[in-house]
Each structure stands twice: as structure tokens, then as C-alpha cells.
């Protein structure tokens, strides 16, 4: 590939600044996390991360995040679809609302959700089962804080897909379901998967919103990020770092898998040009 001509000069300067920025914002904190881990022997590290209570928290966190992400996959896609394909009064407001979970402090979200879903709350009193102070509350809080990831990754891709494409599919004799499954879904699938994966990774580490609605009962509704904070309260920084490293590694692996899958997907569809 020939070297493309750059319009703006200053590659070295901008790369340098980018690297320094990444180092300060990302690598330095991660480095100090690893530094804390250095105080631990392997045996101790292993016994901390396989403590039964922590194991229970992984299970609760992963299951809740999975369920929340699944919901967001479906309803996030629906929201993106509605926002792209239809015009209706208040569309811009709905569009702006989608970013609210990013803007709202997560603690506020958690308090609001626990107010609504408590057994005497505006929503909770009509439900026959417990949401706030049960693991369902964790799912609701996670779904709330991570829905924009799905909407905002799917939306621009859907915008690139003109309505004429599905019209063409229908004209050629496809049923609605077939057109969606074979024409639209393959086109947005990588974006949908990325959005859902990001939502899942975000949910794994969610603390602020979850903590107010979970009830935080040992073995039942304790999420992994609470286990980290609890260890910090005990002034046991290495143990906190050990548990945090599990979340970190899980998230990194997840993002890696999504990236690999996405790259393979693009290769299959477009040949090598996008990779």
C-alpha cells in the first residue's frame, strides 16, 4: 500500500500527544492496579478470587449483565429502528433521551430505580414479585445504564441502509420476516453485536446504579464491584486489585472476542477490503 498523502501535518506530534494521553488516563491507573497485585503471591491471589462469596458475585454479575444485555439488544435495536426509519412528533426528544443514561450520575439512576421498583413504589406496587432489593433490580439498573451503547452503535449503521433495500427485498418476493432476517439483520449484525458487547462489559463493572437497588445480600445480590469496594473499606488494596483484575480480564477477553468475530464477519461479507 502506498503511503497516503496527509492533509494535516504533525503526525509525530499528534501521535505523541495521543500516547501520553492514553498513558496518563488509561495505562497509569492500570499499571498501579498491577502494582498492587505484585504484593500478592499466586496462592493468595487464587484464594482471593476463588473465595465462595466472590464466586457467587461473579455468577450474579455475569447472569444479570447477560440478561440486561439481551434486553438491550432487543429493545435497543427497536429504539434505533424507530429513530431511523420513522418520523413522528417528539422524535428529536426521544433521540436526546437515549443519551440520558450517560449523562445522569449512576447513583441518581440507582436511587430513582429503587424508588420506583420498591414494594410500595410507583411501579413496584403493581408487580406481584420483588424487583428492587432482588437480583432483578440489578438487571434493571444494568439495563438502564447500558442501553445507549446498543442504540448509538446500531443507529448510524441503520442510517446507511436505505429503506429502498428492504423495499427491493419485498418486491422480489421476500416476506417481512425473511427480509429482516436475510437482508437487514446481516447488515447491522456486527454493530448490534458490538453494541451489546459494550453494554455487557459496562454492566460487569457497574457500581453506582446497582448498589442502591440490589439489597447487597451476601451470596444473593452482591455484585463483583461491591466486593472490590468492600475490600477497599477493609484497607486491603491488593485483595481489591485481585478481584478487580478478574473483571478487567473478563471485559478485555470479551472485547477481544467481539473484535475477532467482527473482523471475520467483515472478511466474509466484503472480502479483505475492510480489514
Amino acid at each position: 500500500m502506498s503511503k497516503p498523502r496527509r492533509i494535516l501535518p504533525g503526525f509525530h506530534l499528534s501521535l505523541g500527544i495521543a500516547l501520553v494521553y492514553v498513558s496518563i488516563i488509561l495505562l497509569l491507573p492500570l499499571g498501579s492496579l498491577v502494582g498492587q497485585l505484585a504484593d500478592l503471591s499466586w496462592a493468595r491471589y487464587w484464594s482471593i478470587i476463588t473465595d465462595p462469596r466472590n464466586l457467587a458475585s461473579y455468577r450474579i454479575t455475569v447472569l444479570s449483565a447477560a440478561l440486561a444485555s439481551l434486553f438491550n439488544m432487543l429493545f435497543g435495536l427497536l429504539c434505533a429502528w424507530v429513530l431511523v426509519r420513522y418520523t413522528f412528533p417528539g422524535k428529536r426528544i426521544l433521540d436526546a433521551l437515549m443519551d440520558l443514561p450517560f449523562a445522569l450520575p449512576t447513583a441518581v439512576a440507582g436511587i430513582t430505580i429503587s424508588t420506583l421498583y420498591a414494594s410500595q413504589g410507583a411501579i413496584g406496587q403493581w408487580l406481584g414479585f420483588k424487583v428492587a432489593y432482588s437480583w432483578l433490580g440489578i438487571v434493571v439498573a444494568m439495563a438502564f445504564t447500558s442501553v445507549p451503547f446498543v442504540v448509538r452503535t446500531v443507529q448510524p449503521v441503520l442510517e446507511e441502509l436505505p429503506a429502498s433495500v428492504d423495499e427491493a427485498a419485498i418486491t422480489l418476493g421476500a416476506s417481512n420476516a425473511y427480509a429482516f432476517r436475510r437482508v437487514i439483520l446481516p447488515f447491522i449484525w456486527p454493530a448490534l453485536l458490538t453494541g451489546t458487547g459494550l453494554a455487557f462489559a459496562r454492566s460487569l463493572g457497574e457500581y453506582g446504579a446497582v448498589i442502591f437497588v440490589a439489597g447487597n445480600m451476601p451470596y444473593k445480590t452482591e455484585v463483583t464491584s461491591l466486593m472490590v469496594v468492600t475490600r477497599l473499606q477493609e484497607f486491603d488494596y491488593p485483595a481489591a486489585a485481585a478481584i478487580a483484575s478478574v473483571v478487567l480480564i473478563a471485559s478485555l477477553l470479551l472485547l477481544l472476542v467481539i473484535n475477532i468475530y467482527q473482523a471475520r464477519f467483515f472478511r466474509r461479507i466484503h472480502g479483505n477490503q475492510h480489514v
Binding site: 462469596r53 420498591a118 428492587a132 439489597g215 484497607f235
Partner: protein
């Protein structure tokens, strides 16, 4: 990276005096009034108390000095405050609800290790005990710690791992059962297992637990400091009742000046004055008005009828030192973890 930033500074050397002048110019304007400040790091539910205590102290100071005294209050769970101070929060005095949290700061070298001997009454000018806030009429007839462990009773108290309030709850339940069964530890542990299993929410701090009980309607009883329970009952009038069990533990509220901070801030005399003021009849009256129990005998006599007669156990008599309490009960893998295991 350190190199890079030094380089930038040296390159900017020509501009530095200008920048410095601008920065100082900004700082000089408020400094002209030259307020004296004192920072008090305190526990979560002490906001109203210190707001009331600071007012007369400031008035007195302003009368005797040329400048104005500003007392900055910060409030959080006292373990959180201890961590903040170790990590650099420049607080002149600490007013906590846990001696162990001051010990943590002392271990870090920021407070003299004999701090408990520096002021009267083990540096604890006031104290409280644990109480139950129950819904009006006490429908489940909860009058003792033992009642709280009965089947079908739902409890709200903060997590003993993260909250002093929660630790006193745990220790109060333990001590009362232990007194009942004459130190039969197996019996006490079985009781504690039932007691802990009755919790429906474990918030990380006292105010969170209060919110769960009052705003969200969780649980049959909120377990908290008597002072907090009684001010809640007063605030919500007819909706709640306070129950103080017959056998209970003393929750001492320790205070200390932070040696490292007062040296840096040159505020040692002021910090000592402030803490000694907490022992004066004037301050003790204010403290008693906030439903804390006080040391001053005169004041205690005046308000004798206000506090129910309770057999108060000393934490150190029942459990030993806070260091051993923390490692036996609350450390990872300790008694609390074992009792919560299913």
C-alpha cells in the same frame, strides 16, 4: 513521562512568572479577609449535630479574635473518612463513631498512637447505644435483640464490613446473646446466623439504611444509633417508635486532632480548643439535645428522664481490643463471613 513534563515547564520558563502572578493575584483577593479555617472530618449521620455545635464556638472565636473562623465539615462513613485522611484529606480534627477508624490513621503515623489518653473519657466526649426504629405500634413486638432473630422478622441495618453503625449492630446482638447464655459461643453463633439472615438490605452506610427503611418501606426494624433512631422518630412524628433493648452496647464517639495536619496547618491550639469545647456544659447540652448520651454529670442529671434505663456493656469488656475485634469478626474469612455463609 516525568521527563516530558519537566521539559514543558522549562520551555515555558519565560511565561512562568506571569502565570504565577496571575495565580497569586487570584488567590490574594480572598486571602485579604484572612479567615482561619478548621476542617472536621466526621461520620455520616453527624451533620446536624456539628452544624449546631459549630455555631456557638464560631461566635465565641470571632468575639475574641480579629478574624473570622470557618469550620469546614466533611461527612462520610467513618472508615471512608479514615481512608481519605490517609490518602491526603487535610482534616485538622476527626470526630468518628469508631475508635478503630482513628487507630487506622494512627497506624499510618498521622495521629499520635496514645490519642485516647490525650483528652478526657478516652477521648470520647459523648456516646450512644444501639436502638431499633420500628413501625408505629410495634406490630411484631420487637423489644430485645433476641426478638430480632425470630423467624419472619425483616431487618435493615448497614453492612458491618463497611459501616461503624453496622459493626455496632453486630456487636450489640452478639453481646446481648452472649450475656444471656453465659458465653456459650456455639449458641451465640447459631443466634447470629439467624439474626444476620433476617437482614433484607445491607446498605454500605447508615444513611443508606435509613433511606431503605423509611423511603422504601423495607423491613420491620431499622437498627441504628439511638441518637439517629430518636431524631428520625421526632422528625416523622407518629409513624415510628424507638425501642432501646434492655441489654445493649456502648457506642463511643471518639475524637482526635490529626497531628500531621495541625502541624502543617499550624492549627494545633485551635484544634485542641475545639475538641475541649465538646466537653463543656454548653456543648454537652447541644449534644444531648441531639439524643446522644453525654459525659458531663451536671448535664446528664438535668436530662436524666430522657434516656431509658439500659444495661450498657462496654465493647472492650466483652470483646477485647478493637484490633482483635476487627481481625476476629470483620476481616475477610472472619466470624462475620463464616456466619453469612450459606
Amino acid at each position: 513521562m516525568k521527563k516530558a513534563s519537566l521539559f514543558t515547564v522549562s520551555r515555558l520558563h519565560g511565561l512562568a512568572p506571569l502565570a504565577l502572578a496571575l495565580a497569586l493575584g487570584g488567590a490574594v483577593v480572598p486571602a485579604a479577609q484572612a479567615d482561619t479555617t478548621l476542617t472536621n472530618a466526621s461520620f455520616d449521620v453527624a451533620r446536624e449535630l456539628f452544624a449546631a455545635l459549630n455555631k456557638p464556638f464560631i461566635a465565641e472565636w470571632d468575639k475574641q479574635h480579629q478574624d473570622h473562623l470557618v469550620i469546614k465539615q466533611t461527612h462520610a462513613g467513618s472508615s471512608t473518612q479514615a481512608r481519605s485522611i490517609i490518602q491526603g484529606l487535610n482534616a485538622d480534627v476527626v470526630t468518628f463513631n469508631q475508635t478503630s477508624d482513628i487507630d487506622v490513621i494512627a497506624h499510618a503515623g498521622l495521629i499520635d498512637s496514645n490519642w485516647q489518653q490525650r483528652l478526657p473519657e478516652h477521648s470520647s466526649p459523648f456516646y450512644s447505644t444501639m436502638a431499633f426504629l420500628v413501625r408505629k405500634g410495634n406490630p411484631k413486638h420487637l423489644t430485645s435483640w433476641q426478638d430480632l432473630a425470630e423467624q419472619g422478622v425483616e431487618l435493615v441495618f448497614p453492612n458491618p464490613k463497611t459501616s461503624g453503625n453496622g459493626r455496632y449492630t453486630y456487636l450489640g446482638a452478639w453481646a446481648s446473646q452472649s450475656a444471656l447464655n453465659h458465653n456459650d459461643e456455639a449458641n451465640t453463633e447459631a443466634f447470629m446466623r439467624r439474626f444476620l439472615a433476617n437482614a433484607v438490605v445491607l446498605d454500605s452506610g447508615g444513611r443508606g439504611a435509613t433511606t431503605s427503611f423509611i423511603e422504601r418501606g423495607q423491613g420491620d426494624a431499622l437498627i441504628t444509633f439511638e441518637s439517629e433512631a430518636r431524631s428520625l422518630a421526632k422528625q416523622y412524628g407518629d409513624k415510628y417508635e424507638v425501642v432501646v433493648p434492655k441489654v445493649d452496647v456502648i457506642a463511643e464517639m471518639p475524637v482526635a486532632w490529626v497531628d500531621a495536619s495541625v502541624r502543617k496547618n499550624n492549627s494545633e491550639a485551635l484544634a485542641k480548643d475545639y475538641l475541649n469545647y465538646l466537653y463543656t456544659p454548653q456543648a454537652q447540652t447541644i449534644i444531648a439535645d441531639h439524643f446522644y448520651r453525654v459525659r458531663n454529670e451536671q448535664v446528664a442529671k438535668q436530662i436524666a428522664g430522657r434516656f431509658p434505663d439500659t444495661h450498657l456493656l462496654n465493647i472492650s469488656d466483652v470483646f477485647g481490643s478493637w484490633d482483635s475485634i476487627l481481625s476476629t469478626h470483620f476481616a475477610s474469612g472472619g466470624k462475620l463471613d463464616q456466619l453469612q455463609r450459606q
